[in-house]
């Protein structure tokens, strides 16, 4: 008797009791559907974050900062400047570029500012950046226009995230629907291309120490802080909808580094620099972004930078922690689905035991005409496996349909909120194959006891059964 014979026999037997078989298979389908839709949700969240990091090149990037970015560090210790002796300037940039494995390094000047565009206003931290970084992977996300073309001209590359905060909507697909709902005319609606060539006003504050002295001397008219407004021509719009935590600081408005250096500031980029003033060379850059050629070199380059006395931060290494957290989330979601599958497994046991009871005489006949215990077991294992396989395939389809519906509903709400839709669920190949294998495995385990019981049936007793 071949495996094909067993499968044919199993299908036939299940067909004979199709209502009961269908209900058992439905139980497995619900279990598998619950399991995979939950794990697909966890995987989807992980993938969204992972993809955002990968597409922005964050997996191959190390950020050098004046103070080590440590989320667990108490706030007061940020003022601890001990050990900070290397200023972030062009000299350091050259040294970093010479490290083996470093593809490129560029500094970022950052400063808080207020921006005004089309009568909308918001505050942000802008970034002065070398226009050459436009060639790197992290900035290949232009929706309209070009990247910065000059190091000295007053140009600006803005992000869609900034536009959202400025209440300017450019998503053409959703624009009409959003416009209809915007009865109070809060938003401005246009295409990204319309913004190219427009002027954005950048307001920065500068600090005059002499005026400060005047204040201290009792001069009522002295004002140590003065505002400067710089008009910038928008040359490009970047699509940065879900700005990750690493690019949040300054990615919304990029201006040429050379021009940024001409904008007066309050005199220091950070509290650390303020505290260090007078004790050494000032930082030219708020951060230095280091890109490694190969993500595998990341740890080594990071160590080299640390040896140079620099404070470094690599999100890729934080990603390990994030992955671990998602593993825990997936495990919890998986357990819920697993419980549903256990219930389905009990259903399989019940169905097979009922089947054995009804087919006791048949088992006796099979033994009388030469069926071995192994073959009898095989018949019931075959039935369990078919229940598992059909249930798993049905469960995957059911789970996929459920996630499709859930995704559509959630994205409808997200669109209403003016955000871009996201793929909430992700079905990796291991989840599909794993759930099929798992369902068959579980079904076979569920079939162990009934099959053993069927095989042990005394043929003489079974033939008398009615």
């Amino acid at each position: 008797m071949t495996t094909l014979d067993l499968i044919r026999m199993a299908l036939r037997n299940l067909w004979r009791t199709r209502l009961r078989s269908s209900l058992t298979i439905l139980g497995v389908m619900i279990g598998i559907g619950a399991l995979i839709s939950m794990v697909a949700f966890g995987s989807g969240m992980e993938k969204n974050i992972s993809d955002a990091f990968t597409s922005s090149g964050l997996f191959s990037r190390i950020t050098v900062t004046p103070v080590k970015l440590d989320m667990n560090r108490p706030m007061e210790s940020l003022t601890d400047t001990s050990g900070i002796s290397v200023p972030l300037d062009d000299e350091l940039l050259d040294r970093i570029r010479k490290i083996d494995g470093v593809a490129d390094a560029f500094g970022e000047i950052q400063q808080p500012a207020k921006v005004r565009l089309l009568d909308h206003e918001t505050t942000l931290t802008f970034t002065g950046i070398d226009p050459k970084v436009g060639e790197t992977k992290a900035y290949q996300d232009l929706l309209a226009g070009t990247f910065l073309t000059s190091d000295t001209l007053p140009q600006a590359v803005i992000s869609t995230d900034l536009l959202r905060r400025l209440k300017i909507r450019i998503d053409s697909e959703e624009m009409e629907r959003a416009r209809k709902k915007d009865t109070a005319n809060v938003y401005t609606y246009l295409q990204a291309e319309d913004l190219i060539g427009d002027t954005l006003l950048l307001s920065t504050a500068s600090f005059n120490p002499m005026q400060m002295m005047g204040v201290m001397m009792g001069n009522q008219e002295a004002n140590p802080l003065s505002e400067r407004v710089s008009p910038l021509v928008i040359v490009g719009v970047r699509e940065v909808e879900n700005d990750g935590p690493a690019s949040r600081s300054g990615g919304d408005l990029l201006i040429p580094e050379g021009f940024a250096a001409t904008i007066p500031n309050v005199g220091f980029n950070s509290i650390t620099e303020f505290l260090r003033k007078g004790s050494g060379k000032p930082d030219k850059y708020a951060t230095i972004q280091v890109t490694v050629a190969n993500p595998n070199d990341l740890s080594r380059v990071r160590e080299e930078l640390e040896k140079m006395g620099l404070k470094v931060f690599a999100l890729a290494e934080q990603m390990k922690e994030i992955r671990r957290a998602f593993l825990a989330v997936n495990a919890v979601l998986g357990v819920v689905g697993f419980i549903a599958l256990i219930v389905a497994g009990l259903g399989i046991i019940n169905t097979l035991l009922m089947s054995i009871l009804e087919r006791t005489r048949e088992i006796g006949i099979m033994k009388a005409i030469g069926g071995s215990e192994g073959q009898i077991k095989g018949v019931f294992f075959g039935e369990a496996a078919v229940i598992g396989l059909v249930g798993a395939i049905g469960g995957i389809i059911l789970g996929w349909l459920v996630t499709l519906a859930a995704g559509a509903i959630i994205n409808m709400k997200i669109r209403e909120m003016g955000e871009a839709p996201v793929d909430l669920f992700y079905f990796p190949w291991w989840l599909i194959l794993g759930s099929i294998g798992f369902a068959i495995g579980l079904s076979l385990i569920a079939g162990l006891y009934p099959a053993a019981r069927a095989a042990r049936i005394d043929p003489v007793e079974a033939l008398r059964w009615s």
Binding site: R12, N13, E362, A368, I369, Q375, V460
Partner: protein
């Protein structure tokens, strides 16, 4: 050495404190190609003896030797091989699987016997033709008359070409006409050289056999009854 040697075979059923000796120390031989009838009243132990001969049951003590080899020496595997290749069994209530057609019932026995899928269908049709039911191949047991069902059961018993056919009251559920047809088939099989061991409670049926033995209370009363002595003894 006889073809089949039944040697001090004993089968005792124990239920709680009650002990029932269904077969109690029976010994006799069966020759190759013999048509043997076993007669006896209900509860005489004849079906238990047939089940032991068919390898469906194991004795409490004693041996049954086929061509000198003890049937029970090889354990379960040996009994499966015995049921699969050496004996074919026919029952009073036909014992066909209801969810399978006549041909499929035979094919199942062929599958257990290791016959390839491609050969099974042809062999099943051939066996059905042999019992005169070629046109009923695709009919389910419920669609067959008693006589037809029993002929299918005989065809199935012959699936793996066994040397011995064990028939337990094969005509018990049939009318006279169908009973005669079934007996005719058994006689034909005997003429072809098969050893037939048939259980019946009807002395008239036993007359088709070459030899008849009689059982009572698990023991052998007569092991050499002739047709004449069958007439003389009231059962």
């Amino acid at each position: 050495m006889a073809f089949i040697e039944i040697d001090h075979i004993r089968k005792i059923y124990r239920k709680a404190t009650v002990t029932v000796p269904a077969v109690n120390d029976i010994s006799f031989d069966i020759d190759k190609g013999e048509f043997l009838a076993i007669i006896g009243k209900s509860g005489s132990g004849k079906s238990t003896l047939l089940n032991l001969l068919g390898g469906l049951d194991t004795p409490t003590s004693g041996e049954i030797r086929f061509e000198g080899a003890n049937l029970f020496a090889e354990g379960k595997d040996g009994l499966v091989k015995h049921r699969r290749h050496r004996v074919g069994m026919v029952f009073q209530s036909f014992q066909l699987i209801p969810g399978q057609t006549a041909a499929e019932n035979i094919e199942l026995a062929l599958a257990f016997g290791g016959v390839s899928r491609s050969e099974r269908k042809a062999r099943a049709l051939e066996l059905l033709a042999q019992v005169g039911l070629a046109e009923r191949a695709d009919h389910y047991p419920a669609e067959l008359s008693g006589g037809e069902a029993q002929r299918v059961a005989i065809a199935r018993a012959l699936a793996n070409d066994p040397a011995i056919l064990l028939a337990d009251e094969p005509t018990g559920n049939l009318d006279t006409q169908n009973g005669d047809i079934v007996l005719g088939i058994l006689q034909d099989l005997h003429r072809q050289g098969r050893t037939i061991i048939m259980i019946t409670h009807d002395p008239d049926m036993a007359r088709v056999a070459q030899r008849t033995i009689r059982m009572q209370d698990g023991q052998l009363l007569d092991s050499q009854l002739t047709h004449e002595s069958l007439n003389a003894k009231a059962l």
